[in-house]
């Protein structure tokens, strides 16, 4: 399918986004088609997280085009929210809710049927002892699993995964890969930022490299910048 078609899940042209006065995105062109899995690589500080936050409508673009799932981000971002799922560096969870309640709340908030909750918990191995443990008491990886369960149960049309493997153990990682493939199979678009080059490369249909707030075609050496900015 032609990624430039109007029905592209993500369509950015010369998109600029500022953090304070700093241009985290310095003119990004990007198209992601439904059903496509796109991998973002790049050094620390390249702008991956910022790009994903733009796509989730969390970070406004100050210039350029930005259309996500048919919503022009310059105009309204709200309609978008229920259709995207962002797995960020931070898990947006309430420490004082149990695992099950957390996922249920998130699903309700998105106006989805709660029937998807139980299967999602089961898939991520959260249906045992952990189902009724409060999120604040979970280990890092267990918490990440809950975050994954939330995205899964909300069944978004656009998956935005910011280092989805971080903190997960070996087979949770495989699990995430399977989930991503399934989602893509169901026609969801997946934009994925990761430093796990081998694993992510195997997963992605297309690989892009970010550097200096821009998206480039992959160049071998661009993968290995020495500086952190």
């Amino acid at each position: 399918m032609n990624p430039n078609s109007p029905d592209a899940a993500v369509h950015l042209r010369a998109a600029v986004a500022l953090l304070g006065r700093f241009p985290a995105l310095a003119g990004v062109d990007l198209d992601v088609a439904p059903g496509e899995i796109v991998l973002l690589q790049g050094a620390n500080g390249a702008g991956k997280t910022s790009l994903l936050r733009v796509c989730a409508g969390l970070l406004p673009v100050t210039s350029g085009e930005a259309v996500v799932l048919g919503h022009d981000l310059r105009r309204n971002r709200r309609g978008l929210r229920r259709r995207v799922g962002l797995l960020g560096h931070a898990t947006f969870l309430y420490d004082d809710l149990t695992v099950e309640d957390s996922v249920t709340f998130a699903v309700r908030a998105a106006g989805r049927p709660v029937s998807t909750v139980a299967p999602a918990l089961a898939k991520l191995g959260l249906d045992g002892r952990l189902r009724t443990v409060h999120v604040g008491r979970l280990s890092t990886g267990q918490r990440r699993r809950v975050a994954v369960a939330v995205v899964l149960a909300r069944q978004p049309d656009l998956w935005l995964l910011d280092e989805p493997h971080a903190g997960l153990d070996a087979n949770a990682r495989d699990l995430v890969d399977d989930l991503v493939r399934e989602a893509a199979g169901r026609g969801a678009a997946v934009l994925l930022a990761s430093h796990e080059i081998e694993r992510a490369t195997g997963l992605a249909d297309r690989i892009l490299v970010m550097a200096g707030g821009q998206v480039h075609a992959p160049q071998p050496e661009a993968r290995e910048p020495v500086s952190a900015s």
């Binding site: 969390l58 971002r77 709200r78 929210r81 962002l86």
Partner: protein, 222 residues
């Protein structure tokens, strides 16, 4: 909108039911504030009795502040705004939900406080009807403005200090009106109370409507 409001309020109250912050911490704090004033003002009962309503409302004010602080500190720490925005909830719903939860907690708290005031400062309650209306209107106003400024400061690292500064002056008029209203009510001068009660009602309506309208832009929708 109302569905979302119910959802959010339910969530906040459930968290409170578990963490018991309002009952174990905010409520005792409110009583403490009352006691503190007994220190600050000469324990000469004349002053205290005369100023009982004012002190009651100051205590409500400060504990309300805590309630708001808490209501936003439980939104997942630094990413509160992102979390709320990602949730896909209708901003107006979030506003009403969080404000509603605060109102519930504060009304409960006011009952307790009222008890203490009557006890400590030996004030007897006249005109309960007016008093109740006063409490409801004032609380609604405080909760609404509190939630508004709460989300304003949410996600800022300086929330804890900024929120009081922003909030106190806005609710000060509420404090004044509520004090005067309750005083007149206690003096059995209902007629004098009503104008103040009306003022409180106006505040509440303004803040609530404004909140419903402004919450979206604040969460950067639109």
């Amino acid at each position: 909108m109302l569905r979302d409001a119910a959802l959010v309020a339910g969530k906040d109250l459930r968290i409170e039911a578990r963490s018991r912050v309002a009952s174990n911490q905010v409520a005792p704090f409110a009583v403490l504030v009352l006691l503190l004033f007994a220190f600050a003002l000469d324990p000469d009962r004349g002053v205290l009795a005369r100023t009982a309503p004012g002190l009651f409302w100051v205590a409500v004010l400060f504990s309300g502040l805590l309630a708001v602080q808490r209501s936003f500190s439980l939104e997942s720490a630094d990413n509160a705004r992102d979390g709320l925005r990602l949730s896909g909830l209708d901003p107006a719903g979030i506003f009403l939900g969080k404000a509603g939860a605060i109102v519930v907690q504060m009304l409960a708290l006011e009952v307790i406080l009222a008890g203490f005031v009557t006890l400590m400062y030996g004030r007897h309650l006249h005109g309960p009807a007016i008093l109740i209306i006063t409490c409801v209107a004032a609380t609604a106003g405080m909760a609404a403005s509190g939630t508004l400024y709460g989300v304003l400061a949410a996600g800022l690292r300086v929330r804890e200090t900024l929120l009081p500064l922003l909030l106190l002056p806005v609710v000060a008029p509420v404090l004044l009106a509520a004090t005067r209203a309750s005083e007149s009510a206690l003096d059995g001068a209902g007629s004098e109370a009503w104008p103040w009660v009306r003022l409180l009602g106006v505040f509440a309506v303004i803040y609530v409507t404004f909140g419903i309208l402004a919450f979206g832009p604040l969460l950067e929708e639109a």
